[in-house]
Amino acid sequence: MTLKIDDNLLNDVGLGDAPEDQKQAFVLKLLEVLELRVGMRLAQDLSDEQLAEFEKISSQDGDPSQAGLEWLQKNHPNYETILSEESEKLVEDVKSGMDTVFK
């Protein structure tokens, strides 16, 4: 499943004719919500020790995002499925009403 933020989705939520800055704000919010939802789902499957390890990785010198991703691939190889599921759910939520997304 793909989270496709296109004109159709924007039209569905009544933003088809909105000013560009509002469209951007919408996209921005959507991704923010998705990040949190995916993070929460991933954390449910991880132990405290694993999460502590993630904490350590994020304190490494240099670019921690690369190491973070490698860690994620190793510790939660199924993360893409979760990302996909949450993307699908988010689209459904958006279409059913923004309040459930942005509350």
């Binding site: 296109d6 560009e20 921005l28």
Partner: protein, 725 residues
Amino acid sequence: MSESAPTSSPDMPPKKDTLHVEGLHPAMQLSAVEELRSTQQELENRLVDTVDNKLDLAARAAKRREARAQFDDLIKEHLKINGITHDDPKFDEYVALLKDYSIDQIPQDLWEKGTLDDEGNIVPPMRLAVVDDLRAKYNPSSTSATPPPDPTATAPVAPPPPPAPKTSAEVKAIIDADPTVLNQRNLVASLQEELADLAAIRQGRFWSNKDTQAEYAQVEEEYRDAVAHLAKLELDAERAAGISRTETEERLDVAFKLVEQFKNLQEQTVEKLKGTAVGKFVTFMTSGGTVKRIIKGATIGVAAGAVGAAITLFTGGAGGALLAAGAVSAAAATKATAFARGYATFDNRQGRGMSVVTADGRDSEFNQKVLRLSGADGQNSEATIDLVNNFLLNKLENDTKVEQSKRKKAALKSLGAVAVGASLVELAHIGADIMGVGNQSSLQAAPHNSGISPDTDPHVPEGKVGGVVEHQVPSTPEKVYSVDALTIRPGEGWYETFKSLGIPKQEWASLLKETGPQLSQMQVNGHPLAYQMPNGQWGIRMTPDGKMPKEALDLISNTHAKLTGVPEVSTTHVTPAAEVTPDSTSTTPATPLHPAGTEAVPTAGGSLADAIQEAAAPSGQAGSITTLDVIQPSDVAGSAVLEKFTHVASWYSPDMFAQNLGLSFNEWNGLQTYIIDQTEAGNQLYQGVFTVNSDGDLRFTTNRIPTATMADILNHTPERIRTGA
């Protein structure tokens, strides 16, 4: 070749060591004590340096404690080397004294340099206090200026009159010289540092750690006892010194001292939080402009390989190109705001997740509130100490839990961001196709309505919307100083002025040494602006109107620039509105403001500044900074452009509002902190307009910002926003 010149002539008598205490054993002389401290410091440094990860505060604290556990042995060894063994009658006494003089009791900066207390009074270096202490103990005649009593004198006929009540300064001087109080203060300072370390570790963690919690509980208990003991010691000393005050005043004094102590603990904790794990990750992900952020996201995606375009952001048709470009910016900006909302907002707020103590005096509202909420109202001072102390430490514990909760949410977001970031490559690719990322000339173009602040490298989709690259022509900078810097408050010193100018604390002493003599040459109404105190420090002579001359601030600013090599004190000046010229290298049209078919949205930069100037100075004074001092609600209502800013869509985020104002990330953090503070403080202007949710996020609760609120917000935006400079 000749030897280097001797420091003193052999004909001259040896210079007397003024810090030598006659009759005192060499092992206890200042030089020997300092040698011991040096050994202690070396041991501590050696052990702490064995911790590989410099950010692992817990491990470093553990090593520090390990070193300090060996101090007793070092002290005994020191005495033994100097010929004092266990069977010496003075052995235990010396051990006890040397423990008090150890580096864990008296930090090196206090030992060497002394400090300024909260009222700006100089607390002398502790090494001198130690010499006085030793003299008092082992050679009292050398310090006593009072002649011995005459046994032949006749008794006075009448009892002497009661001593006049001492002033608070006199009482303070007596207490500050009390070695018992000083020792206890040092113990509190040491425990405070340790507790701040642990509080920072706890607040800085994504996830709780039982070991740290147990250690924290133990140190907190020690700190609680030490603070209470110090407060009682000081109370007793104040009473003994004959301080004159009512019971209520005494209770308020007691509470305020504890509040001040707590404030220090909070500040130390916040300071130690800098550079912790979460902070570092967030800093990385939120640093740089939009392009850099995209690259960071793209890097993750590339590493992930083909993720299968789990997220695809695009729009169809010609009209969608702008959104695609915007979406890239927004998606990248999301990484910033995701953290900013959950973490960085608090990270940058004073005190982060902690509700910061704002007491600024004994009678302050906060101080009274603490007395009331702690149940100390009407209690005696001794009970007040325990109640207030417990109340404040419980508050720290609550703050820690709140902060942990916020960080946990931020951590979850960061975890999700890593996963989502893997897909950002799709965005970057789409954006790259449209925008030609890598084409430097296009990267420099800036759409006026991108909604992205000027410091985030916005792009323009070629042929869809153009932008004018605005180059500010440098003009002679006129420094405009903050009201704080231009105002002299009673009792204020030059350090407060330096602070108002944004000069880092560590540069104050050298700067004052350099500028003091020059400032003393500056005269206001026939009096020098600076005067030298008996201790050699420079003070401010209050001017008749309480204003600090701008020339003095210029002198300080320029001298600071020379000393540090930094051109100017960056936060204290603005330049007059600069001319704007089209970029000769830009291939985009010169004046397109909005894409066809889109609403003209008020944007950052010139239009807002112009509107403000027009509204604030309708009589042709636009451009004068003076006219922009205060924007009135009527100015907002009277300007179509300003009024437009007051309309906010439902679900519109304050972040986007800030971007439309043209605020940079850091500027928005500053303004957001102000708005959150006003909202939480119940300022009527902000009630019903904003709310701060349980996560600490700022939200609109209306679609229309009242003009009075808008005016207040604009009055708290940086000068450059209002002037367009």
